[in-house]
């Protein structure tokens, strides 16, 4: 699969588990606000609850940015519920947990490992038009950081609003002065 930037989410309809209830979610639900699709390999694994819990801890901040979180695994919505029943961390999750047992979403975003029926740890930030503006895909065991994800959402929103005519001011005290470079083509 090639570059995913600016790919628009294709039509889908999947079951989901959110706040103790089952519901259906389609591509239309992802539009009109910023969204994060947060793929993980499977329920009842170890790294996943820490990642999902980290995300749950920052959920309010994502909401303050007008961004909705959708976690996705290849389990059914019934398994999501069973996991929530069994785990305090998962029970505390307020965002929507999508169920993708047929691999529709994981295949669409290129993160499905077909022979294992599990998704790689892929994170996709979609703008309100449902287009991918940033993404990362980790191998199974490599966890992600919700704070870093929040920073990326903020950066994506910023660029959408202000264009790409700005740079992040990530200077460090004590850095050496940069060697000068002169590029005045067309300016004199």
């Amino acid at each position: 699969m090639g570059n995913m930037i600016n790919k628009e989410v294709e039509p889908f309809r999947v079951s989901a588990f959110a706040n103790g209830e089952f519901r259906e979610v389609s591509q239309e639900d992802l539009k009109g606000h910023w969204s994060v699709l947060f793929f993980y390999p499977a329920d009842f694994t170890f790294v996943c609850p820490t990642e999902l819990g980290d995300l749950a801890d920052h959920y309010e901040e994502f909401q303050n940015e007008g961004c909705e979180i959708y976690s996705v695994s290849e389990d059914t919505h019934f398994v999501h519920k069973a996991w929530a029943d069994a785990s305090e961390t998962i029970r505390g999750i307020q965002y929507v947990m999508l169920a993708d047992p047929a691999g529709v979403l994981a295949r669409q975003f290129g993160v499905l490992v077909e022979e294992e029926g599990q998704a790689l740890r892929g994170t996709f930030i979609l703008n309100p038009a449902g287009k991918v503006k940033a993404y990362e895909i980790h191998d199974m065991g490599i966890g992600r950081n919700a704070e870093e994800l929040l920073r990326k959402v903020q950066a994506a929103k910023f660029v959408e609003k202000h264009g790409d005519q700005v740079c992040p001011a990530k200077w460090q005290p004590g850095e050496e002065t940069l060697s000068p470079s002169l590029d005045l083509v067309g300016m004199l």
């Binding site: 700005v166 740079c167 002065t177 000068p180």
Partner: protein, 221 residues
């Protein structure tokens, strides 16, 4: 101050860059004077002082002078000597409203060279219609442009603001390297650059055209 201590050979200017600089500075038609306020116990001040002295010796149209902060506070109140190194450009003895706080390394070398080109002449072209508009500004405005030396967008914003200052007495444009003054970065909540703060009131992010900036400046009366 004892400016003899300041070397006229800046380690930031390579032989290639010197050749490029000579090419641009050779086009100058008038004169410009660089005034540099420095504390020679500070590394950035020494770097900027040497850079200014080196550039000045590349053209007979350029001169430079160095001050200690205490001297500058008394003799040159128009320069903010609290942010060192501070370098201001003068034309015929008058402050042009163009100044640099920090070392003009990285992309900001473009800003300094074009500022000299605009002050000494011939200067960059400017649409006559915009030039007339700038002549109508009623109140003096100050623009602080916070930059990072590695940001090419920043240099474009500094160049545009300082081009306005070069033609209008009502505009002051100060480049500020945010890295060197973390208290200001904190005060103005600078997380992205270029950030331009007009009259400590209006905040602009990114690169704006001269016309866009004029539309903001004209409101101040």
């Amino acid at each position: 101050m004892d400016s003899e201590k300041i070397s006229a050979k800046s380690s930031l200017i390579t032989a290639d860059l010197e050749e490029q600089l000579c090419g641009v500075l050779g086009k100058l038609t008038g004169e410009a004077h660089m005034v540099c306020v420095v504390n020679l116990a500070d590394k950035a001040s020494v770097e900027m002082a040497e850079l200014v002295r080196h550039i000045a010796r590349l053209s007979d149209k350029l001169t430079c002078q160095f001050y200690e902060p205490k001297e500058a506070k008394e003799e040159l109140p128009e320069i903010d000597s609290s942010l060192l190194p501070a370098t201001a450009l003068y034309r015929q003895g008058q402050y042009t409203g163009i100044s640099f706080h920090g070392v003009t390394g990285g992309k900001e070398m473009n800003s300094l060279v074009l500022a000299l080109y605009n002050v000494a002449g011939p200067g960059q072209e400017m649409d006559k219609r915009i030039r007339k508009k700038l002549d109508k500004l009623e109140r003096k405005s100050e623009m602080k442009i916070f930059v990072s030396l590695s940001c090419h967008h920043c240099a474009n914003q500094v160049i545009a603001c300082q081009q306005m200052a070069a033609v209008s007495k009502m505009v002051e444009a100060r480049m500020i390297d945010a890295r060197l003054y973390p208290h200001l970065a904190q005060q103005y909540k600078i997380e992205r650059i270029p950030m331009t703060i007009i009259n400590d009131d209006e905040v602009l992010l990114g690169v704006k055209t001269i016309e866009q900036m004029y539309d903001i400046l004209k409101v101040y009366k």
